[in-house]
Subunit: 393 residues, 2 copies
DNA sequence: GCTATTTTGTTTAGCGGCTGCACAAAGTCA
DNA sequence: TGACTTTGTGCAGCCGCTAAACAAAATAGC
């Protein structure tokens, strides 16, 4: 098999992976190469066990139908884990963001990262063993900022891990103990969601994608630039949770007041709506339940929505003025806030934009069900997407 | 002459341009190619009239001395212009950021962009004619956000241009009238400063460079990522001037209150220090004069410094938490504020950072005298830096 | 001052990836 | 059924880069 140069092989696999090259001729056009070269590339990817070439079926157009490029259903998978304040999840994810197998369970997160990640590694190993498939890499989404390139947790506000814990090494070690020796990474959960949405969800084809999400607790932000996660110089970028939206607001664990974190998350919504969260289920679930149609008539709920949407709009406007995205996605509770009051949110953002509503950015809800897992898998797949030839060795 | 592929020629020229490859062997190492390939690349660049190969003189080290790579002193130049609220400047800039010729004059800026840019184009044409050198491109720095790719001014707060004016087309047309037909651009002034500082000033080798500057009026921000200006999806990124640092503060032309624009610029400093600006000289000059040593004993000046530094620190902290830069540069009035109270500024930033002072980002003053002009020239040079072969045609 | 060593520049042969072209294959349209 | 259109494949060839051998220019050691 010829070694392709200049990343052509990776570009081709990425196009197939993201669904932008469903047929052979589409790939040829997207790569900007001759049919002969595309043929060689496709042969390589097939030899690597990543894709299969199917029969071309097409109606209406002239000429010889182009063969379909399909992801090999027995091809390798990435191992994805997720830790959030209310529980755990693990999945095997193939090319194209296909979730091949998945399991999840609710449980408190131990204060020791090794104790917290051990069951994730265990469940992952079990899923992988049963699937019998090759593993290209592993990644775990966590509710904490993660430094690059060390892979250390920084001020995880909603789990009890110590700041500076090298959770990437911990995770890799736990997998190695189970005979899984693949490149392993740890990633902030909202970063993972953003990457997943960009590749397979509501963020497709956006070149400057801003994602803000109130997952289980707190608020996170992420930016995907030209298809790659923007992590900043040390992994600590897009700390959207600490954007100030109310100088006289509630204290945030970071030391300031009125951060997006404490002003627009599920706990704040419950308080604003006059509800006391029950301890037996995740706050996020309770908040989204209240946001559903049957409770909208409650004036306290309407007030809470108006308040949080106003705060969220302020925070979004600030981020938009810095990042100038071409699309904004909202996840977690923010997704439901957007759906409850889309007009008010867009209005608030436009009012705070120096350019007015003329330069309005489209704001959409996140589209994926398991964005954290799929996004973690994207990160695990990335080295292969950059250079598929890695699999040959 | 062989056409080099995959941007090798451009990478080589950029290394020489930024001073990272002063000798032939340094270039070979930096490019990661063989000496034979480097030889071919150097021959190409020399044939294009961009560089010359000098004799190698070096003391202390063993082995044959490597030839020096020097920028051709008769090589082509870029044409750089600058418009600011207090006047105009024009320069010819060669490779390496060398200002070959320069002229500037104070004058009010006409409300019609064509009238404002005409003398810039005229002075540029005159400089170019007298120099007798080839021109690779032109760019003009302006005190306004500029949309990409249209090149339109958006809400120029400090000159009277209409929003949406296509000043790039205007500028290109004025140059074409004077028989200068080269690619022409228009760029925000702080963006230009940032690019210049990254290539030739205090931002060298930074991968994530954040620049905030209070030039003549207002405040601007810019970001240089991996050597290229970050413009966002439509050129309107890094609107640092509209970061809110005092919700109850002064009204900003954008409609909000307490923006960095109105809380930390030269006019605000004068007011805080109890001075009334004289109309006969630029406010920035008056403010920096007051900031010099002999006025520091004035308690009102000290108060003004403390107030503005506190506001600036708040704004910087917000930007740093989003961008996570590896270096921050301050220009214009902010440069002098930093020099007047470096400890207080760094303290304020660190206090507002969720990671505390452990992850402190280095904050430095800008180093270049004519950053706006040099940065505009960088933009004009960019197509040639990306593909020097363009000059052959 | 001579030689040995080190590092640099140049020449040459050769490989590998990609293009361009010719031709075959597989569909639609009249 | 035949003309047309589009797609896949085989083959010759170019071009950029590498590898290796050789020549050149300095220092280091005797």
């Amino acid at each position: 098999m010829a070694e392709r140069g200049s990343g052509l092989l990776g570009a081709a696999l990425t196009l197939i992976h993201t669904g932008r090259a469903p047929t052979r001729s589409a790939l040829t056009a997207a790569l900007g190469v001759t049919r002969a070269t595309a043929g060689a590339v496709i042969a390589d990817l097939r030899d690597l066990g990543l894709i299969q070439v199917g029969a071309g079926s097409r109606g209406g157009a002239q000429g010889r139908p182009s063969h379909r490029l399909v992801i090999d259903p027995e091809g390798p998978v990435a191992l994805a884990g997720q830790v959030h304040p209310d529980g755990f999840a693990v999945a095997l994810v193939g090319l194209g963001g296909q979730v091949v197998a998945r399991t999840s369970w609710a449980a408190p997160v131990p204060d020791d990262p090794a104790h917290a990640l051990a069951p994730v590694a265990g469940a992952a190993a079990e899923l992988l063993r049963r699937s019998g498939r090759r593993c290209v890499g592993a990644a775990c989404a966590v509710p904490s900022a993660v430094t690059e390139p060390e892979g250390a947790a920084v001020s995880p506000l909603y789990v009890g891990w110590p700041t500076g814990a090298k959770i990437r090494d911990t995770f890799a070690g736990l997998l190695a103990d189970r005979q899984i020796s693949v490149p392993s990474r740890v990633v902030n959960d909202v970063n993972a969601v953003a990457l997943a949405e960009h590749r397979h969800g509501a963020g497709r084809n956006a070149e400057y994608l801003l994602v803000v999400s109130a997952e289980h607790r707190g608020v996170g932000g992420a930016l995907v630039l030209h298809g790659a996660l923007y992590t900043g110089s040390s992994g600590l970028s897009m700390e959207a949770g600490h954007v100030s939206v109310d100088p006289g607001g509630r204290p945030c664990p970071c030391g300031n007041r009125g951060c997006l974190n404490v002003e627009t998350d599920a706990a704040r919504f419950m308080a604003a709506a006059g509800r006391v969260p029950r301890p037996d289920s995740p706050v996020l679930d309770q908040a989204t339940a209240i946001l559903s149609a049957e409770h909208r008539s409650d004036p306290r709920v309407a007030e809470a929505v108006a308040l949080l949407v106003q705060r969220l709009g302020l925070g979004l406007a600030g981020l938009i003025n810095v990042v100038n995205p071409d699309r904004v996605l909202l996840g977690g509770l923010h997704k439901y806030l957007l759906q409850a009051a889309p007009g008010q949110l867009r209005e608030t953002v436009a009012l705070r934009s120096p350019w007015g509503r003329g330069a309005a950015v489209p704001i959409h809800p996140c589209a994926l069900d398991h964005g954290g897992l799929i996004g973690a898998a994207e990160l695990a797949w990335q080295p292969v997407l950059d250079n598929p030839g890695l699999l040959a060795r």
